[in-house]
Amino acid sequence: MTMTVHVDIVSAEKEIFSGLAEMIFAPAEMGELGISPRHAPLITKLNPGEVRVKVSESESYPFYISGGLLEVQPHLVTILADTAVRAADIDEAAVLEAKVKAEEALSDSSGKIDYATAQSQLQQAVMQLRTLDRLRKRGG
């Protein structure tokens, strides 16, 4: 029997996958990673892209994530997936907004779309498309 490792994939909204797998492929920031059972402890950030969980030789499940974190323990792999669009600039804008709100207690927020948001949305859309494309090829 082949070795397996327990995999949990969760997003802020729900649990996406939980079960045993032979291997996990994830789009880490430094390049694509393949995690086998008994991998050394590792933490890394993930880029938007496809996470593939290989359950057996013939069966594997793909998931699209828009970034997140990957933690590896020898017998446990956890993927914390982000769903919201995030960028450093957005955080800063949110800070300013909260401060202004505290000072003036005005509930008026202007819906500006800045460049960074648009860019990260675009990147996500591209990765989503790529994942879909791969799925289609595999299916067809």
Partner: protein, 287 residues
């Protein structure tokens, strides 16, 4: 017949109030189901990230992140999570009382406090007090988004990083069950792990990609955010549950009041009729 006009109008007005409280009770009941689902849906994430933090606390990293290192406490930050609307029993006032007790304790030990509020009730309460309010968000609705609260969390995290505050707490209501909501105060920074996993003892450390600082920054920020967010959605579920209970007892009270008034009204009416008859009889006898 002009008997008991005041009582009749009073009964009518209480009936109207009862209609409103009953409607609010039913709305709160259906919203509670939704907010409870939302609370449960976010739970796996916060459990998992908590687990990773626990592992991390047992690793022996070369790089010590500021969020993990305790230091002498001169100033603390508090994030108070409240509801946006009232009419939910003692939910908010219990929470504020607990917060005030903590504030008193800090004041006695000469620790200064910065406060951030989530929800208009907390803003209304702490805005009137002589406290240092550094940020607030409100009107988040029943389905709050994480990015709504990122701003005030970042205010606190930045303050911690530059050393303005030395500890960060979050105060919110814990959903025990529909009848019980418990105000709780939890320390977020520096991060403390409560129970340790025995399988992970020994000297080891993670491989960090790209590097420890960047990954830990990201992870710990997410952890704090998920904690506050969890507090927020849990507080929402508490609000609906508390409102449902409060409105149910208000409807019941209105029902009792109507019953009593109805009795008084009937008695008055009966008395008036009896009096009228006796007057007529007396009049007939006189003729």
């Amino acid at each position: 017949m002009a008997v008991g006009k005041e009582i009749r109008t009073k009964i009518a007005s209480i009936k109207n109030t009862q209609k409103i409280t009953r409607a609010m009770e039913m709305v709160a009941a259906s919203k509670m189901r939704k907010t409870k689902d939302r609370m449960q849906a976010t739970r796996p994430y916060s459990v998992k990230i908590g687990q990773i933090i626990k592992h991390l606390a047992q690793a022996n990293p070369e790089y010590k992140h500021t969020f993990l290192v305790p230091r002498e406490v001169k100033r603390v930050g508090v994030i108070v999570v409240s509801s946006d609307r009232g009419l939910c029993g003692g939910l908010n006032s219990n929470l504020f009382r607990k917060t005030l007790a903590e504030l008193m304790q800090w004041e006695n030990t000469n620790v200064e406090v910065d406060i951030c509020t989530i929800g208009s009730k907390a803003f209304g309460f702490f805005g009137n007090l002589k406290v240092n309010l550094v940020g607030q968000v409100s009107k988040l609705g029943d389905a709050p988004h994480l990015h709504d609260i990122v701003g005030i969390i970042k205010i606190m995290l930045d303050a911690y990083e530059v050393g303005t505050i030395d500890q960060l707490y979050v105060v919110s209501n814990e959903f025990v069950n529909t009848m019980t909501q418990r105000p709780t105060i939890e320390q977020l920074l520096p991060v403390v792990a409560h129970e340790l996993d025995e399988n992970l003892s020994g000297h080891w450390d993670y491989i960090y990609e790209p590097d420890a600082k960047e990954v830990l920054d990201h992870l710990l920020t997410r952890f704090i955010e998920s904690k506050v967010y969890q507090g927020l959605v849990e507080n929402n579920a508490c609000e609906q549950a508390a409102r449902m209970v409060a409105m149910k007892s208000a409807s019941d009270n209105a029902g009792n009041l109507i019953g009593e008034l109805q009795l008084i009204y009937n008695k008055a009416r009966q008395a008036a009729i009896t009096q009228e008859i006796s007057e007529i009889v007396a009049g007939a006898a006189a003729v």
